[in-house]
């Protein structure tokens, strides 16, 4: 790794910069980087630039695109041959449009990529030597030289009357929009600092490296406002661009929505096909089964063979001795820890927490149908409906607690457990005042108040028991339901 020193000269005029480059190159100093506020071909010529290689990129891209277009159309025609109007399968004229479009597309893309690569963008390396004024009117020449040729280079640059001449001891300066002579540049070995970091005495013509161009005296208020507006727009563009990118990426992946399990209601004569169809929808969607059983890593994959025992409709008959397929699958869903398949953890929840009895049986029918015979009937659904499926009754309407849409007072009282403590028509328990004949003992206002606030005016003999009655029916019952219950009780004389 050679030791080099850098010199940075700043010029007011392009001619000075061009002359300096010419003299430096003539002296054999060829590691030159030029900074320009705008593209200037004189500097490019001085640096010895040849024609832009981007045109080659465009040509190659275009040819590849055209060739690819022909190849694609030919391949698809041969892979899926369709005779159209008696023409040959490989009908070249029809491919011209696609090939032309592909040529334009790939030519443009290739030119853009070539532009970035040849411009060495994006520029990731840190900038050691740069002056913002090179974007605001001045021309910069940065040359790296061996220490023994430093005086020669300095002399050449001074000869063109630079507004500033600075020594960079490290000799590694780079700029983002670099134009170099083709011999040096960012890829070159990095030099090692050898001297002090003092500025060259010549640099006394400038106070600082940064900021003068945008100093308070440099711009009038109108251009200042314009600059600020432009800067704000750029920032807004960055924010919008970033958001658009993220939104685009999120929309380009598979879109999976978590569905709500549809409520099912089957009659006694429900057919196997009906059950199966409902079960399949549940299994692949809102039932959430695929999260574990679809991957086969957390739970056995029910759709494919497991350890040579077949798909679930086949293997269910042999899983547990004494239990047929239907009973085994049903048990696996309502008592999942009873039959954990070897090699898997007991992670399956009791499906009654999230699915109704009808939904569970529909799933059983669907799983049976995968390689086996569906034996689920409407009678199974009725026989197993013990109300333990919480979703079938409770919390069904987004309302807290045991909500019921019924307006029948007896149904409301049953659903809310009133008869657990009050007797009615020979049923219920005598923990609270009996409902039999209650209309003859108290009026509607008293009953209403007792339901809403059980501790207010407890019946004689039941003072202690009144504490057991929850004060939550005011929020669980609708006003209509409350009134139906009150009127029903008033009518019990």
């Amino acid at each position: 790794m050679s030791r080099t020193v850098g010199l940075l000269a700043s010029f007011d005029y392009v001619d000075s910069a061009v002359n300096a480059i010419g003299e430096l190159r003539a002296a054999g100093l060829k590691k030159i980087t030029a900074y320009m506020p705008y593209p200037d071909h004189h500097i490019e010529e001085a640096l010895g630039y040849d024609q832009s290689p981007v045109r080659v990129w465009a040509l190659v891209g275009g040819l590849l695109g055209a060739g690819g277009g022909f190849a694609l159309t030919s391949f698809t025609s041969m892979d899926w041959p369709l005779v159209t109007g008696g023409k040959p399968i490989l009908s070249i004229p029809a491919y011209v449009i696609i090939s032309f479009e592909m040529m334009v597309l790939f030519g443009v893309l290739s030119a853009v990529i070539g532009f970035f690569i040849n411009s060495r963008l994006p520029y990731i390396k840190p900038m050691v030597v740069y002056d913002p004024e090179f974007s605001a009117g001045k021309f910069g020449i940065y040359v790296t030289v061996a220490p023994d040729r430093l005086d020669q280079a300095r002399s050449i640059l001074r000869g063109q009357d630079p507004s500033e001449l600075r020594e960079d001891p490290a000799g590694v300066g780079h700029a983002p929009a670099e134009v170099d002579s083709g011999f040096g540049g960012p890829g070159d070995p990095v030099g090692i600092a050898r001297a002090s970091s003092e500025f060259d005495p010549e640099s006394e013509t400038r106070e600082d490296l940064v900021g003068v161009a945008q100093g308070p005296s440099g711009l009038d208020s109108t251009s200042e406002r314009r600059t600020m507006l432009f800067e704000n727009l750029k920032i807004f563009g960055v924010v919008i661009g970033t958001l658009a990118l993220f939104t685009l990426v999120a929309n380009s992946i598979p879109q999976v929505q978590s569905e709500v399990p549809l409520a099912l209601s089957f009659g006694a004569d429900v057919s196997a096909d009906e059950l199966m169809a409902s079960g399949e929808i549940l299994y692949n969607g809102a039932g959430g089964c695929l999260a574990c059983h679809g991957t086969g890593t957390r739970a056995p994959n029910l759709l494919t063979d497991h350890s040579g025992t077949g798909v679930i409709g086949v293997r269910c008959t042999n899983r547990v001795g004494g239990e047929d397929c239907k009973a085994y699958i049903y048990s696996s869903m309502v008592e999942p820890n009873a039959y954990v398949v070897e090699g898997f953890d007991p992670i399956m929840p009791d499906m009654r927490r999230s699915l109704s009895n009808e939904q569970i049986w529909a799933l059983v029918a669907y799983l049976q149908s995968l390689g086996g015979e569906v034996t689920v009937t409407g009678a199974d659904i009725g026989a197993s409906d013990d109300g333990s499926s919480t979703t079938a009754t409770a919390a069904a309407a987004g309302a807290p607690g045991p909500a019921s849409a019924s307006s029948d007072p007896l149904e409301i009282m049953t659903a809310n457990g009133c008869l657990s403590c009050h007797e009615l028509d020979g049923g219920g328990l005598p923990m609270g005042p009996s409902f039999d004949g209650i209309g003859a003992r108290v009026d509607a206002d008293y009953i209403r108040e007792s339901i809403l606030d059980p501790t207010a005016g407890a019946s004689e003999g039941y003072e202690d028991m009144s504490m057991l009655m929850p004060a939550l029916f005011g929020s669980q019952l609708t006003a209509g339901q409350l009134e139906a219950v009150v009127q029903f009780l008033v009518s019990q004389r």
Partner: protein, 600 residues
């Protein structure tokens, strides 16, 4: 004075409205029930769910900002006070000035959220209020105290700036953080209850029968608290970085540029350092979700949300790459940093490979046709890369690489003078190599053991990385004592693209928060309260990621438009920048660093 009074009056009005909302919501909703009872309300055009979603998300973003910024405002003030560097005090005050308006915005969006919930989800409100009524009252009280502590903290800055008074002022700042954190803890209990109600609470349990403390300190409460506290610091740092970038780009003098360059550096440093810890807090939260309910955990990681983690990996990749990019560009203003420049390309390659591995899909739910198309449960090629062994390895290597970037930045302009400098550097290098080997070894070994053993390996990997970070920092602190400077840091000499990187960081952090909020809320699926209160509204189905992304982007845009307004106000409120008031562009050796490169 008049301005202050008006601002105070406005905030008081907002707070009063919020408090009123908390007290009245039950009656309003109850009145609806009595009146014939609609279960859900509606909102024009976008629908009720999106209205509440946007209000909650924007409120949360502002809340995160007003919780995160005071944390390092106090640290910066303390640093300035005990370290004797006035610029830290000025930095802390500038942070706090942003807080005042942001705090009002937080309260306004809180009130909007409350009213929308009351009108659109009245029954849920009744349910939650019955369980959490006491905590809601405490919340309002704390909010009140927090507001006035903030006023005292900001307006008392110049008055109480010496001796014991300054110490008292610092105490106010600490108190502000205490109140703010307490407010966050309470709000977290409400939302985590919806995710993880106690196991003995079911659909039949009346809300009045739910024990308040068990509902409050539910299974995911503490993990969320920890995760949010760290995330707030990250977010606050990123937003401060964006503010500094904005001011940098519009600066008119070198002094301004130097000051805001330094501020952006500090904000970014805090954000990136806190970010390095965040994945560990995330793992803790994820583990607790699995512990609470396997089904919920699986829904989150492998169910319909599995693709969400690919998007998250993409965003984290953007964060790592942009954060490192900013550090690498920043080395351009440090004399001596050029000797590390050649290494950046290798670090870039490592980061890109890490991101690719991390973003590889693995356990995707698939139907019969998709399984058949793949030829098995896992993709034949991606199935190997996408497993946790590979992903853990990738993320740990990425963290190590980012830390290495920072270490190079730290050491750039310092030349150690201690006799054992060479040995210390070799030890540091060895620690990096050993940590990387441990990470890779357990990553590869993980393919040959069962899942339960493999999960345990992540502890060793994380332990190696954390031990290396701590060890290397300790060595470096001692090694840099009395170090020679290679020249003053040229604060302000940063190209504009570095500042746009800070904007991208802030937008990405904010979007990521929105995405994670969607994940946290979405795993409840069609339940308002998991397996307790079912969502029977027309919006019960949890939307797909594409739809969510549009809403998240809208939230982020609203937030940034408002934040831009706040930044603009911040500029209006300050005096014209005085020469020399900012960081000195050619200050003492080592420059005005927060900690590293200070030559100490």
């Amino acid at each position: 004075m008049k301005q202050r009074g008006a601002k105070g009056l406005r905030l008081f009005a907002v707070m009063s409205l919020s408090a009123l909302a908390f007290h009245l919501f039950a009656e309003v909703a109850w009145a609806q029930e009595i009146a014939g009872g609609r279960t859900y309300g509606d909102f024009p055009i976008v629908g009720g769910r999106v209205a509440v979603w946007v209000a909650a998300q924007v409120h949360l973003l502002f809340a995160a900002f007003v919780l995160g910024v005071p944390m390092f405002a106090v640290v910066a003030e303390g640093w300035g006070m005990f370290g004797g560097e006035a610029k830290y005090d000025r930095l802390a005050k500038e942070f706090t000035r942003l807080l005042l308006v942001a705090y009002s915005a937080t309260a306004i969006w809180g009130a909007i959220l409350s009213f929308l919930l009351i009108t659109i989800y009245p029954n849920l409100w009744i349910y939650l209020a019955e369980i959490f009524e006491v905590s809601m009252w405490i919340y309002v009280a704390l909010f009140f105290f927090e507001s006035f502590t903030l006023y005292l903290y900001y307006y008392g800055w110049d008055r109480w700036n010496r001796g014991r008074a300054k110490l008292g002022h610092l105490t106010l700042g600490i108190l502000l953080n205490v109140f703010g954190t307490a407010v966050m803890l309470i709000a977290n209990s409400w939302l985590t209850y919806m995710m993880s109600p106690p196991a003995d609470v079911g659909p039949d349990t009346a809300p009045g029968m739910v024990q308040a403390w068990s509902a409050f300190a539910n299974a995911t409460w503490m993990p969320i608290n920890i995760h949010r506290a760290i995330a707030n610091v990250v977010f606050g740092g990123a937003i401060v970085g964006a503010y500094a970038a904005y001011r940098f780009l519009l600066a008119k003098t070198d002094e301004e540029r130097a000051h805001y360059d330094w501020m952006g550096y500090v904000g970014n440093l805090i954000a990136i350092f806190a970010l390095l810890v965040l994945p560990f807090a995330g793992y803790y939260l994820g583990r607790e979700i699995y512990e609470y309910n396997q089904q919920m955990g699986i829904t989150m990681m492998g169910g319909f949300m599995s693709w969400l983690w690919i998007i998250q990996a993409f965003l984290i990749g953007v964060l790592f790459l942009t954060g490192n990019y900013y550090l690498w560009i920043g080395m351009g203003r440090i004399p001596g940093a050029e000797r590390f420049a050649p290494y950046t390309k290798y670090m870039l390659v490592v980061l890109i490979v890490g991101v690719i591995v991390w973003a590889t899909p693995h356990t995707m739910i698939a139907n019969r046709e998709e399984i058949a198309a793949m030829g098995g449960n896992l993709h034949p090629f991606l199935g190997v890369l996408g497993v946790m062994s590979a992903k853990n390895t990738a993320v740990n290597i990425m963290i190590l690489t980012t830390f290495l970037s920072f270490l190079l930045y730290w050491r750039a302009n310092n030349e150690p003078t201690v006799r054992w400098a060479r040995t210390g550097t070799i030890v540091q290098g060895a620690m990096f190599v050993i940590a990387a080997l441990i990470v890779v070894f357990y990553g590869v070994y993980g393919y040959f053991v069962s899942a339960i053993v493999r999960i345990g390996f992540s502890v060793y990997q994380v332990g190696a990385v954390i031990a290396t970070i701590v060890g290397v920092v300790v060595i470096n602190v001692f090694m840099m004592r009395g170090a020679k400077s290679r020249g003053a840091i040229r604060w302000g000499q940063m190209p504009p693209r570095s500042q746009y990187a800070l904007f991208i960081l802030a937008v990405t952090f904010t979007w990521l928060m929105g995405l994670m909020g969607f994940a946290r809320s979405g795993i409840r699926q069609h339940w308002h309260v998991w397996e307790v209160v079912r969502d029977t509204s027309e919006w019960a189905a949890t939307p797909a990621l594409g739809y969510a992304a549009v809403v998240i982007s809208a939230c982020v845009l609203i937030f940034f438009v408002l934040v831009a307004f706040i930044f603009w106000l911040g500029g209006l409120a300050e005096k014209p920048f005085e020469a020399g008031a900012g960081a000195d562009a050619s200050s003492s050796p080592g420059g005005p660093e927060l900690a590293p490169a200070a030559g100490d």
